[in-house]
């Protein structure tokens, strides 16, 4: 995480705050996060303002994140953002909030809530601070989230397709195609969309979809089954 902030001129407050800050920082650096959190929170109670307090708030969030307590990390990061919206390290706070949510993601087949919240937080980060050090990593994680959510909607599409609920299947696959185009699930989603349309006797839509599948994925293994050969004419 970022280096310590440059000390400010108020002498009296500055020294006694630092006296409390250093042991907490050392505890964090050696990985003893629970003591670090305790010391940081004591410091904030005694010296609620000033650079050390701000740094303590950030480090508390980071320590919670390292201990895997994503909710507490998110809460600490949010408090920093409200208190110091103009602080130079506020982009780091947004990033911390994002990775705390990201940490709680279990995968495509589980609770989608943390994934959606992580995506929204990273989205704000990359839009407000496009060239911050954390934007690159944030974009990478956003792509990963798109893959996960895309796969999730594809799984649900297949769940309903097998149970003859073709409108539901088509709708879920369309969500993959429209909202998660970059996810690898798009290919299979196009395939199941085409089959759903076929099952519902919507021949025109089925052919369109098959053509788009062929156009985007010329060597897709699903083309054979759809009775579509190679790169047909465009949609």
């Amino acid at each position: 995480c970022a280096g310590g902030p440059k000390p400010e001129k108020q002498s009296e407050n500055h020294d006694s705050a630092r006296v409390m800050f250093d042991p907490a920082k050392q505890a964090m650096d050696r990985g003893d996060y629970s003591t670090a959190i305790k010391l940081f929170e004591d410091l904030e109670a005694r010296y609620p303002y000033g650079p050390y307090a701000e740094q303590a708030e950030l480090d508390t969030a980071y320590s919670y994140y390292q201990r895997g307590e994503s909710d507490a990390a998110v809460a600490a990061a949010e408090r920093f953002i409200k208190l110091h919206p103009a602080n130079p390290y506020v982009d780091y706070a947004w990033y911390l909030k994002g990775i705390a949510y990201y940490q709680a993601i279990q995968g495509a087949e589980w609770d989608p809530d943390p994934a959606e919240k992580a995506f929204a937080t990273f989205d704000i980060l990359v839009k407000r601070w496009p060239n911050t050090a954390y934007a690159a990593d944030a974009r990478q994680r956003m792509a990963k989230i798109i893959d996960i959510l895309g796969q999730r909607n594809l799984d649900i599409c297949k769940f309903y397709y097998v149970r003859h609920a073709y409108v539901a299947a088509a709708d879920r696959c369309t969500t993959v195609i429209t909202r998660y185009q970059l996810s690898p699930a798009r290919e299979e989603a196009l395939y199941y969309l085409a089959r759903s349309y076929a099952r519902m006797n919507l021949k025109g839509l089925a052919q369109n979809t098959a053509a788009i599948l062929a156009y985007n994925y010329p060597r897709s293994k699903y083309l054979g089954e759809l009775g579509v050969s190679g790169p047909a004419k465009g949609p």
Binding site: R163, H164, A165, Y166, V167, A168, A170, D171, T174, I177, T178, L193, A198, R199, M200, N201, L202, L205, N208, T209, I212, P235
Partner: protein, 95 residues
């Protein structure tokens, strides 16, 4: 004894009475208030809405009814196609 299955109903119920209320030139909002919003999003043709109704009874074959609603470029109703009546859809569960 056969397995207990559940009827599978999908899509919008559109009655001939509602269809009769449509007349060309209506905008999309008017069509939506009469027919309701289509459950099936057509990703490829923004100016075409597809109202599908399907019912697969627990032990019977799938029966599908579909209605295409077509709009011109600036969203005015052009016309309606499709088997408004309950056409017996061919059994396509074979594949």
């Amino acid at each position: 004894c056969n397995i207990y299955r559940v009827n599978v109903q999908q899509g919008n119920v559109v009655t001939t009475k509602e269809l009769a209320e449509l007349h060309p030139g209506m905008d999309q909002l008017q069509v939506r208030t009469i027919l309701g919003s289509p459950l099936l999003q057509d990703p490829w043709h923004p100016d075409q809405w597809v109202y599908v109704y399907s019912l697969k009874p627990a032990y019977g074959t799938l029966e599908v009814r579909k209605i295409y609603v077509l709009f011109d470029k600036d969203g005015k109703l052009l016309g309606v196609q499709g088997d408004v009546k309950a056409a017996a859809a061919t059994a396509t569960t074979a594949s």
